[in-house]
């Protein structure tokens, strides 16, 4: 069914195929699948930002190295993925906490922009280390979810066909589980209370005896674990893995976090979905925007949010009494 053909006039610059239902649904599904990965990256950004007030630009690269480790352990050594993936996540959590304690905390005490430079430096270093150890050629990643061409539910037979891959559903379920566990941890445990108290008022948190430094390490550990998970899922989605796996994804994650307000967990999830949909629908709708411009869309989202609503959709505007 082509809706465009029912219109009495032609719409310039608009892709005809956009008015086919199957095609649009397929784009939405693709957008929401990528969006779930962006949401995970946005969650990592938010978890670090809420307590420390800074962004970890190396979050994506930390995920990439975790994902490459999974590849080495499982594909090269034959260890099953259900061991290698949790092991890589656990290891990256430890590394995240150690990096926070040894590199970020001493620099942060001196104030200023030091932390931003440290995380940017980490970004470049980890990226280079990945290339040195694993080489620059893409490899076939570990796929925790079924990844054959036929592993999908066909919902509307085509052409054009509308189908949902099993792996896409797997990514959505993973995101839901991560959000659920995070909610339980933050809202229902003593550790989570300590984390939220530090986010709300760091000095008062110290004054009731909460070890603030350890809560900052906890934030980095959680973010690193989620980042590695995001990288594993994204490599399954693209079917190819190299040292640049997450270089663009972190930008989409930052856009999603900005959209959600930088300090809101639901905001990160909705932000991820919106950024994924924008990335998938806008280039398809306007034929003059090629898919190579899709990264620009992420930057447009960031700038638009900062201009129109700096606190994001779900963020709270900071009220300071003087």
């Amino acid at each position: 069914m082509n809706l465009l053909q029912t219109l009495p006039w032609a719409v310039p610059g608009v892709n005809d195929a956009f008015f086919d239902l199957s095609y649009v649904l397929q784009l939405v599904t693709t957008g929401l699948a990528n969006g779930a990965v962006y949401a995970l990256m946005a969650l990592s950004v938010v978890i670090v930002y809420r307590t420390t007030g800074h962004m970890n630009f190396a979050q994506g690269e930390m995920g990439t190295i975790g994902c490459l480790l999974v590849f080495s352990i499982s594909v090269e050594r034959g260890v099953p993925y259900w061991i290698s993936i949790p092991a890589a996540i656990a290891l990256s959590m430890v590394v995240g906490a150690v990096l926070q304690r040894t590199l970020v905390q001493p620099v942060e005490r001196r104030g200023g922009m030091g932390v931003v430079l440290v995380t940017l430096g980490l970004f470049l270093i980890i990226n280079a280390v990945d290339a040195v150890i694993w080489g620059a050629d893409p490899v076939t990643p570990v796929t925790p979810f079924p990844s054959e061409a036929g592993d999908r539910f066909i919902i509307l037979d085509g052409p054009p066909q509308f189908a949902i891959r099993y792996s896409t559903i797997g990514i959505w379920i993973t995101l839901a589980v991560v959000v659920g566990l995070l909610w339980l941890l933050l809202q229902r445990t003593r550790l989570g209370l300590g984390y939220r108290a530090v986010a709300a008022n760091p000095e008062s948190a110290l004054l009731v005896g909460i070890p603030k430094d350890r809560m900052l390490m906890l934030g980095w550990a959680l973010a690193a674990g989620i980042g590695t998970l995001a990288a594993v899922l994204f490599s399954q989605k693209t079917g190819s893995l190299d040292f640049n796996l997450m270089a663009a994804v972190i930008l989409y994650g930052l856009a999603a976090a900005a959209l959600g307000g930088f300090d809101s967990i639901p905001g990160a999830v909705v932000g991820g979905a919106v950024v994924g949909l924008v990335e998938s629908l806008v280039p398809a709708f306007f034929s003059f925007i090629g898919s190579e411009l899709s990264l620009v869309m992420a930057l447009v989202v960031i700038v638009a949010v900062l201009l129109v609503r700096p606190q994001g959709i779900f963020g709270k505007a900071k009220v300071v009494r003087v």
Partner: protein
């Protein structure tokens, strides 16, 4: 018995020296008030006692027979000091109940914490009505009640109060100071309070110190300072 001994306490924010050798003692069971003008160093004294980061300190601070110098703030709290900071310092995004739970962060006796929280709800029924509201929505008086209750949930031996009357209505102030006197009388909590309102503070205190430009310039029993005309004119402004 002496609970807190401070000798030659110096403190600086970066290159700026704020305290130039504070000497004071607090006996167990006392209410001691620290008076002084704006900028004299009252708040800094309390912050230095808690070893808050951002402040470099030197000198002797002994609490309950052991030194606090170089401890982390969480360790100071664990040792039995609770601090109600100036401007309340509640956790605005957390509910009233979560604020109180956070106050008991270091305690493991969950049942007794529950009982303590209920007791504070009896003391401040307005907090009980708002227990699921976020603390940021409370009025100034309610926030101060919450801050006091939160500090007391760590079951401190020494309670530090920084300008508890600031910006509050007279009736609320009166209620709070009754609670402080009651805490001291029945729970035996030792209190060190910083106040601008000298008359009010001297009315519940046993002893007072007057601080000027980062040094103690005067000390004595509260009643004496309260009635000495020369002292009142020179230091207390009433």
């Amino acid at each position: 018995m002496t609970l807190l001994t401070v000798e030659g306490l110096e403190a600086s924010y970066g290159p700026v020296r704020v305290l130039h050798g504070i000497d004071l003692t607090v006996e167990r069971g006392e209410v001691v008030v620290l008076l002084g003008a704006n900028g004299a160093g009252k708040t800094t004294t309390l912050r230095a006692l808690c070893q808050l980061p951002g402040l470099s300190t030197s000198g002797r601070v002994d609490f309950d027979g052991r030194s606090l110098v170089g401890c982390r703030t969480e360790e100071v709290v664990r040792r039995g000091i609770a601090h109600v900071p100036q401007g309340r310092g509640t956790f605005p995004e957390l509910s009233v109940e979560e604020n109180l739970d956070a106050g008991a962060y270091l305690r493991r006796d969950r049942r007794e914490v529950r009982q303590d929280i209920e007791r504070w709800y009896d003391t401040f029924p307005r907090l009980a009505d708002r227990r699921h509201q976020s603390a940021g929505t409370l009025s100034g008086g309610e926030q101060q009640m919450l801050a006091v209750a939160r500090a007391c949930l760590s079951r401190p031996q020494l309670l530090l109060l920084d300008e508890p009357s600031l910006g509050l209505a007279p009736l609320v102030i009166q209620h709070l100071f009754e609670i402080f006197a009651e805490l001291n009388r029945s729970d035996g909590t030792t209190i060190l309070v910083v106040e601008q309102n000298a008359t009010l503070a001297l009315s519940i205190a046993t002893r007072a110190y007057v601080i000027e430009s980062g040094q103690i310039v005067l000390t004595g029993p509260a009643a004496e300072l309260h009635h000495d005309d020369g002292v009142r004119r020179a230091y207390l402004g009433f």
